[in-house]
């Protein structure tokens, strides 16, 4: 029995780990490789900047891509490059900050035959100081139930009612404004308020336990 070692396309010796973009090269990335090799660094940088603005959540207009059109590069080619680069960056950003190592990333870029000049720029997006902004935008944009925007409250003590001369019973009135715009006003009798407080404290404690346990158990 002999062990046959299979080498890659000639550049990397170790090909048995999955690249950051997955098992197969995405179609958008494949189609952009050829035009990318002919692209100038200046135009490349501008496209990259547009992509980063888009990922950070701000609006990008089609006009901005059109403006970069030159006699060498048609609109369509620019669009192909844009979508290819976007896909590439999205795949790289999918892994959390510590997970993807820079050297391995560069190796994968080499495998894809992306010109080496562009490597530093792309790496600076993933590993540089703009990453924090991208991550926080990612957190903000996830699907969520409405959160409590504002809680107004009031503690009342009923002194007398039409049926009872001496009541002296406290109660809490809450007005909760949620992030979806709904305003809910309701009264909470003191017993229910204690229950609410107990439940919130319990969940808080469970969350803290979960976070402590987590760091030890689930590793990347």
């Amino acid at each position: 029995m002999s062990i046959i070692q299979v080498t890659g396309s000639g550049k990397s010796a170790v090909s048995d780990r999955t690249p950051f973009y997955g098992a197969r090269v995405p179609t958008e990335v494949k189609s952009m490789i050829k035009p990318l090799t002919k692209l100038e660094k200046g135009v490349f940088r501008k496209i990259l900047l547009l992509i980063v603005t888009a990922i950070e959540g701000k609006n990008v207009e089609y006009k901005q891509i059109k403006d970069l059109e030159t006699k060498d590069f048609q609109e369509e080619t620019l669009c192909v490059i844009y979508s290819g680069l976007l896909k590439l960056l999205q795949c790289a950003l999918k892994l959390p900050n510590g997970s993807l190592k820079q050297e391995l990333f560069k190796e994968d870029l080499l495998e894809l035959q992306i010109p080496e000049d562009f490597h530093t720029d792309i790496s600076s997006v993933i590993f540089g100081n703009r990453r924090a902004g991208i991550d926080s935008e990612c957190l903000k944009s996830r699907p969520r139930l409405p959160q409590v925007d504002q809680l107004k409250w009031r503690v009342d003590v009923g002194i007398s009612t039409s049926v009872l001369n001496r009541v002296l019973e406290p109660s809490v009135l809450m007005e909760m404004t949620l992030t979806d715009g709904n305003i809910h006003t309701f009264e909470v009798p003191v017993s229910k308020f204690h229950e609410l407080r107990y439940n919130v404290a319990y969940v808080l404690k469970e969350m803290e336990d979960l976070e402590k346990r987590n760091i030890l158990k689930i590793k990347d």
Partner: protein
């Protein structure tokens, strides 16, 4: 102790009717009224029951109505003033009620009075009342833009019962750790205020 009942003609007539009621059936009527006293807008006896009562007590419709209303009035006033049994006994006797009827009423009041007052105390005017609290703790592992996450998440569902409507309104909201901590701090502030009252 303030005088709860003044001797008006209708009260005198009602006392007369009360005195005529069969002693065996009287305690049941009194305890039924006490049971339903704290409920809003609910008749103590349904129409069928009132008809049956007319037969068993041997009274006409208007007389029965006067009787029941006056009894309810006596008990409502006792609740309003938080009457002691002795005071109640004395004032009822002053109206001319027979001693055994007075004793029945006072006995029922002594046993069930506290509970009735407690129920009345908790009657709220505000239609929306918080009734249910449900929650769920989640750990977000991934989303479309980022995988391999460990984000704890809590979802709360508060059931608010609106008076007069059958269904509950459910308020659903979500908290991260920080948001939940802020919410908890607000609840703590409210608690301090409540503690300051007593």
């Amino acid at each position: 102790m303030a005088l709860m009942f003044t001797s008006t003609p209708s009260i005198r007539k009602a006392v007369g009717l009360i005195n005529e009621v069969d002693q065996g059936k009287f305690p049941l009527v009194v305890s039924r009224i006490l049971q339903k006293l704290h409920l809003k807008d609910e008749r103590t006896f349904s129409e069928d029951e009132e008809e049956k009562l007319q037969g068993t007590l041997g009274m006409s419709g208007p007389d029965l109505e006067l009787l029941l209303q006056t009894l309810e009035f006596f008990l409502q006033q006792s609740a309003y003033h938080t009457a002691k049994p002795a005071a109640l006994s004395q004032q009822l006797s002053q109206l001319g009620m027979d001693q055994d009827k007075v004793d029945t009423i006072v006995e029922s009041w002594t046993t069930k009075g506290r509970e009735v007052i407690q129920n009345l105390r908790q009657r709220a005017l505000m239609p929306n009342q918080l009734t249910d609290i449900n929650w769920r703790l989640n750990l977000q592992m991934a989303q479309s833009m980022e995988t391999k996450q460990k984000l704890p998440n809590a979802m709360f569902e508060l059931g608010v019962h609106r008076e007069g409507q059958e269904d509950k309104e459910k308020i659903r909201m979500e908290f991260t750790h920080d948001e939940l901590y802020q919410f908890y701090n607000q609840l703590e502030t409210i608690q301090k205020q409540i503690d300051g009252l007593s």
